[in-house]
């Protein structure tokens, strides 16, 4: 299912400890003090022993909580599998939104969520599809079902556009409007969950970052910028 951050167990710790930089408080036991720069696989919880841990960790955590003193340059804590205990189903709804709102300072929450939120669809299994291959879903507004295409099959934007037109011609025909290709715009959802217009970046870059394709009516495309 999900790719998990694994744990490196037991004895590897002592080897790592010997080579690691440490910023423990003065006077704390070298053996027992926690490392600031934990390599991703090291389980922080495991390395603890009772007493010294409490002192050093408590003081350090208090610092962190108050944001008074940066003891060290900010190091992202190694993400632990399944912590905080929020269901994957729920997490996948907000991962995109959270990342976007972090990077965009002081943007209204509504804007961030409306443009960046992924649909609360299949959980992390779906999110991890990048590992599997290059198939991406293609949806079209008004079509009853989606399609999937293999991004590796196309060398450039023109081929992609032609393939999509061929695939979805049956649906646009049902519309009262003429099945005119320029009626529609092709957009895609990138790694951050943003809805982007296809065609801006080099095709290779696009095929690497594209997670999902969406064919929308041009009339909606004009509103893209304000979303």
């Amino acid at each position: 299912m999900e790719a998990a951050v694994g744990y490196v167990s037991g004895d590897a710790d002592s080897l790592l400890m010997a080579t690691e930089l440490r910023l423990g408080l003065p006077g704390t036991d070298d053996q027992k003090s926690k490392t600031m720069f934990s390599p991703p696989a090291t389980p922080r919880g495991k390395k603890r022993t009772a007493d010294a841990f409490e002192d050093s960790a408590a003081a350090e955590e208090a610092h962190k909580a108050d944001d008074d003193v940066e003891v060290a340059p900010p190091v992202a804590k190694a993400q632990v599998v399944g912590w905080p205990p929020v269901r994957s189903y729920r997490k996948s709804c907000f991962q995109a939104a959270a990342a976007a709102s972090k990077s965009k300072a002081n943007k209204k929450a509504e804007d961030a969520t409306s443009s960046n939120k992924t649909t609360p669809s299949a959980a992390a299994p779906a999110a991890a599809n990048a590992n599997g291959g290059s198939f991406v879903k293609v949806s079209m507004d008004g079509a009853p079902y989606l399609r999937k295409i293999d991004m590796r099959m196309y060398k450039g934007y023109r081929e992609l556009r032609e393939a999509l037109e061929a695939m979805f011609v049956c649906f646009s025909g049902a519309d009262t409007a003429a099945s005119n290709p320029s009626e529609y715009a092709i957009t895609y959802e990138d790694k951050d969950g943003d809805l982007m217009l296809v065609g801006d970046v080099p095709f290779d870059m696009f095929s690497g970052t594209c997670k999902k394709l969406r064919i929308i009516k041009r009339s909606e495309a004009t509103g893209l910028g304000s979303k």
């Binding site: 909580a65 993400q79 912590w83 269901r87 729920r90 939120k117 879903k137 009853p144």
Partner: protein
């Protein structure tokens, strides 16, 4: 709101822990022989039971519904055992591996409803490796022939394939209710078979199930019978694929009994209004995206939407959805707010400014689920308005350890002061103090469920930098009805000493990154006499702690230990000494040559079925 609960295992009765004794079995030790057909059946070993007395007994036993009570009744004597086995209508299996399907089916002849739970809860957090088990197939194979009159199936955390779903209409012509919670393995193809085949279907509830990528989405909504249906509840917000809206609208129009409808995020406001017009008597509504159709010229105005809600105000009590909410439309729900007892905003990223006006209208709210974007100020509004609140859940928008966290001890304290009747709380935060937790323990003595998740690991009191021992200690001491507890933050053995000393009613305990030594586990085992489910992760407990539970494991449904300090030998000792316990151990990296003797995951559970035969390679059953 989900009735078949997810995190809390509390409502409704058919998923409730209180319905559970020891799975299907009573006591979990030796079994009395099956006594089916005892009325009239005279095998000469004892006098035939008095027929009249037995009929009376069976009539009386009809009133016992909770499995726990029934288990107790079945232990009185053989004839009570037989009568109870004949009259049990709901079979509750809290752990699908605790008993074999054949055995359950053999004992209970008249079952009309089956509740089955599969994977342990830690599976929700990716701690149970893929392919671990909990397939429903052996159960479906057994239930089919045995219970042709089966009406209801509820599955939680099980793997159900489309083919297995297809067996339901075939095996059970009277089938009425299907509820799948946190399940996986099926697609819209399976749903189509259910819709088409189960002509008497009343309830189809799909709650937080995991949908696989589908090559082709089936138009399952169109498969419901053409005539009027008996549908009372249709919940499919987790089936997040586009569907045939016209078919849904028509379905709702011909389902006069429909009271609960929760749609997925592919339903716009305009479509929602159409549905609401077709179903004026809805009590539970999941609003879908709560956003206008993109680019549509006929976008509803807020007042249009408000009119729709005003029409529903008399009946609507539970509102959820808001899966892609456009906050401008929120005022449209004001007409129903005063009547609402349950409101779920936990998928709606709304600021406190957007939420507070809504909250201010919800004077009768009993259940409130929300994201932490509500902030401490929003929680203060809840405290001021919702004096009747019984259940609060605050989920994190950004569920990572180093996130900002928008709620804190301030919000918790405010809630405790305003919502004195609080019974259940789930609270994700980054900053907490003992003072606030103690305040809650004193202000809310009715607490049954207390789950506090301080997301930063090992985080102490924000103000005093002390461990959170005193806070949790106060909770177990003052909240005398507490049955479920999840702890977090910096905790020492002292916290567990408190839990053992005062947590006499605790049935479910979740521990993560806590404790100093094996004494913690010992305190819990020795003190929490009602303990049923214990989940521990990343805590410094080893074999000694595990062994301290030996005398108690048979009283529990399961014990899960993840990334602690167990060894294969320690777990093996337990397996050896306890024959009715299944001890499964797993390693995170099975190929890792380094540490052969350590155990990454331990899952032990009592079972009458012995070691299971469907365990995958990475599971080692000792």
């Amino acid at each position: 709101m989900r009735d078949a609960a997810d995190d809390s295992d509390s409502p409704p009765s058919h998923m409730s822990e209180d319905s559970d004794g020891s799975g299907a079995g009573a006591g979990g030790d030796t079994w009395a022989p099956d006594l089916r057909g005892a009325n009239g059946g005279n095998n000469g070993r004892w006098a035939p039971p008095d027929q009249v007395l037995e009929n009376v007994l069976e009539s009386v036993l009809e009133f016992l519904t909770a499995a726990r009570d029934r288990n107790a009744a079945s232990l009185v004597c053989r004839s009570w055992y037989a009568a109870e086995a004949q009259t049990r209508r709901e079979l509750f299996i809290g752990n699908c591996y605790a008993v074999s399907p054949a055995r359950a089916v053999q004992r209970f002849a008249g079952v009309r409803a089956v509740v089955l739970k599969g994977k342990p809860r830690f599976a929700d957090f990716s701690l149970v490796p893929n392919g671990w088990g909990a397939r429903v197939s052996p159960w479906v194979d057994a239930l089919g022939p045995a219970y042709p009159r089966l009406q209801r199936i509820c599955l939680k955390r099980m793997t159900v394939s489309d083919d297995e779903l297809a067996l339901i209409p075939r095996s059970f012509p009277l089938f009425r209710e299907l509820s799948l919670v946190c399940c996986d393995g099926f697609t819209t193809r399976g749903l189509a078979v259910i819709a088409e085949g189960c002509r008497h279907l009343r309830v189809l509830d799909l709650t937080e199930d995991y949908f696989h990528e589908e090559t082709e989405v089936v138009d399952w909504i169109s498969k419901f019978p053409e005539c009027n249906t008996s549908l009372e509840s249709l919940v499919f917000d987790c089936v997040s694929v586009p569907f045939n809206f016209e078919a849904l609208e028509a379905l709702v129009a011909r389902s006069p009994a429909l009271r609960r409808l929760r749609v997925n995020d592919h339903v716009s406001i305009e479509q929602l209004r159409r549905l609401m017009a077709r179903a004026p008597h809805l009590t539970h509504l999941g609003t879908g995206s709560f956003r206008s159709e993109p680019g549509s010229s006929g976008a509803s105005s807020v007042s249009d939407l408000a009119t729709s809600f005003a029409a529903a105000a008399k009946s609507l009590v539970c509102l959820s959805g808001f899966l892609d909410v456009n906050a401008e439309y929120l005022p449209a729900i004001y007409p129903v707010c005063a009547n609402l007892t349950s409101l779920n905003f936990s998928f709606a990223s709304l600021t406190s400014e957007e939420l507070i006006p809504v909250i201010n209208h919800c004077v009768n709210l009993r259940v409130f689920w929300v994201l932490d974007t509500v902030g401490d100020e929003g929680l203060r509004a809840v405290a001021e308005t919702c004096s009747d609140l019984r259940e609060l859940r605050v989920f994190p928008l950004d569920a990572t350890e180093d996130s900002e966290g928008s709620v804190s001890d301030v919000g918790l304290q405010a809630i405790s002061e305003g919502c004195r009747k609080l019974e259940s709380i789930l609270y994700f935060c980054q900053r907490m103090t003992n003072v606030a937790v103690i305040a809650m323990s004193e202000n809310c003595p009715d607490l049954v469920v207390f789950r506090l998740c301080i997301m930063g690991r090992h985080r102490p009191d924000r103000v005093t930098a002390e461990p959170m021992d005193e806070g949790f200690g106060a909770i177990v001491k003052n909240c005398k009805k507490l049955t479920r507890l999840s702890v977090s933050g910096l905790l020492t053995d002292k916290a567990f000493a408190y839990i053992g000393k005062y947590g006499k009613l605790i049935k479910t305990l979740s521990v993560a990154f806590a404790g100093n030594s094996d004494m913690s586990l010992q305190h819990v085992f020795e003190g929490c006499t009602k303990l049923q489910k214990l989940e521990v992760r990343d805590s410094p407990f080893g074999d000694k702690g595990l062994l301290s539970g030996m005398n108690y494991f048979y009283n529990m449904r399961f014990f899960w230990m993840n990334s602690c300090r167990l060894t294969v030998k320690g777990c093996g000792d337990v397996a050896q000494q306890m024959p009715n316990l299944v001890v499964e151990v797993m390693k995170d990296h099975p190929d890792d040559e380094g540490e052969v003797d350590t155990v990454d995951k331990l899952y032990l559970y009592r079972s009458l079925a012995g070691p299971r035969t469907d365990a995958p390679e990475f599971v080692n059953i000792l």
